[in-house]
Assembly symmetry: C2
Homo-oligomer: 271 residues x 2
DNA sequence: CGAAAAGTTGATCTACATCAACGTGCGTGG
DNA sequence: CCACGCACGTTGATGTAGATCAACTTTTCG
């Protein structure tokens, strides 16, 4: 691993992702760039964080894939989520003493990190940015909740279909898909641990998807031939991914700026 | 349902919960109380929020039980989490346009709500409180992640054991358990939807736990006779619940206060 | 009190796990 | 440059946790 400010600073996937939610000012972009300045590299199959370990700092994935996973004492393992470029590792769970999960790289990876205390700076000085980070955290939770629905109520075939579509969508946002083709640097064992299935069953399920012509796989390259049908099978509803940028609900609050604080008529819940 | 400022203001479960993370100043407590001022009541089996619907405001559970759940188009349903007193409903997902899940009450419920924009006020004027809220959100995500581990890699018996211990612990923090006895206002159908199992199998699993003397059930009252054994069965590691209050990692940052980076005067302080 | 909701239990079915054996690509060291 | 080893993928045979179906009992509640 190799640390320190990077000489070149290419496009930041995080900025890309946050921009899909909120148009960032120059000031905010500068601050964001500052946060991502300390970059380090790690080879594939490295633990960036180990369950039970103390948190160090907040990490921002700049390139490569990783998984967030939890293990049972007897060795059974569950992959909670895939960590893709632009994802923030433990922005809030950093407030915990120690990690309740591990992060392991799947490919060589480029990670920026900044001390946890800077979160407070964001809160204080950049509330809009803080909201964007919060949005990103909410999105991540939504992804996990959707995965919970998969494991609880979808069949193996549906789960696989759903996962493939989800990854395709998430990667699209950061320009990592071309004509339905993208890299899936993942063994069947990892897929099994992500979907709560056995390796063998993953293999058979992928075979079914391949045989029906919906996807093609060559090594780590996967091509989605028919997103529509795949989405149908997985009962995929992309709402939870927050891909379309509606007019931000907070945009007005940001503009009027004074926000509220006191004078606001008691809200009327329960429509 | 009955809205507006409540005449009496008993102990706030949220304050209780946050206090387990951070000792709140008088000022912060006052602000928190202000946030919880607009209280409304809802009967059992009411939707507080429906998948696909627009978010209204941030809600704080003050009393009663609810579930957060997602449904597939064909009707299959997954309970994502149980919403208990002190839990905040959608603090960050409020930044989404519309909800990707539903919230439904299980019992009569008392809910406080405040407009989403106030989140910005918290960021700006009460960074410590913002951190406490973020901690609470991280804790909720940790609970969901642990549930994902359950559905993916634990057997039915293990899942049930784990869930019972989890609920017992969470309820303990807000003083809702007495000698291992607590109210579980939940049908077996809901348990089934939470554990990704069938009703019948939930029934048999509960029977096994009852027959082995680990728990007793009378209507909606459940008694845990042997937490230790139940924890073993469920491979329960309470780390993710963040129950023990270590010295907050940010405590020092809060004290030294200036934190780091570009010092910006807090633009919008307290009311 | 009567009906619907919730809980219970046995019989049977099945999606997925486990076991086993073999194929295949590839990185490393000789 | 080959070969050996090993991680990974594949496929068939068989086992099983949990689903489904069905019938019945108990509780809840208008």
């Amino acid at each position: 691993m190799n640390s320190g400010p990077a000489g070149t600073m290419p496009e930041s996937p995080l900025r890309l992702k946050l921009s899909s939610y909120l148009k960032l000012t120059d000031d905010e972009q500068a601050f964001l760039a500052e946060l991502e300045r300390a970059v380090s590299r790690h080879p594939a199959r490295t633990d960036l964080l180990v369950q039970g370990e103390r948190y160090g700092s907040v990490r921002v994935m700049r390139g490569g894939w990783a998984i967030r996973h939890k293990a049972l004492p007897d060795g059974r393992r569950q992959v909670i989520n895939f960590v893709l470029p632009g994802d923030i590792i433990g922005i809030y769970s950093n407030l915990f003493e120690t990690a309740d999960h591990s992060i392991t790289t799947l490919t060589p990876v480029e990670v920026a990190s900044f001390p946890s205390e800077k979160i407070l700076d964001i809160f204080r000085g950049y509330p809009r940015l803080a909201a964007a980070f919060a949005w990103s955290a909410a999105r991540e939770e939504a992804i996990i909740a959707e995965r919970l629905l998969s494991l609880g109520r979808r069949t193996a075939l549906e789960r696989m279909a759903h996962l493939i579509v989800e990854l395709q969508r998430r990667l699209s946002v950061i320009n990592m898909v071309e004509n339905g083709l993208f890299t899936l640097p993942v063994t069947q064992e990892i897929l099994a641990d992500a979907m709560g299935l056995s390796i063998v069953h993953i293999n058979r399920t992928l075979r079914r998807l391949r045989d029906s012509g919906l996807i093609e796989i060559n090594g780590q390259r996967i091509t989605v031939n028919n997103v529509g049908e795949l989405s149908n099978i997985g009962q995929f509803d992309d709402h939870y991914l927050q891909l379309v940028r509606g007019p931000s609900r907070l945009e007005s609050a940001f503009k009027g700026n004074k926000a509220s604080a006191k004078p606001k008529p008691p809200p009327q819940p329960k429509p």
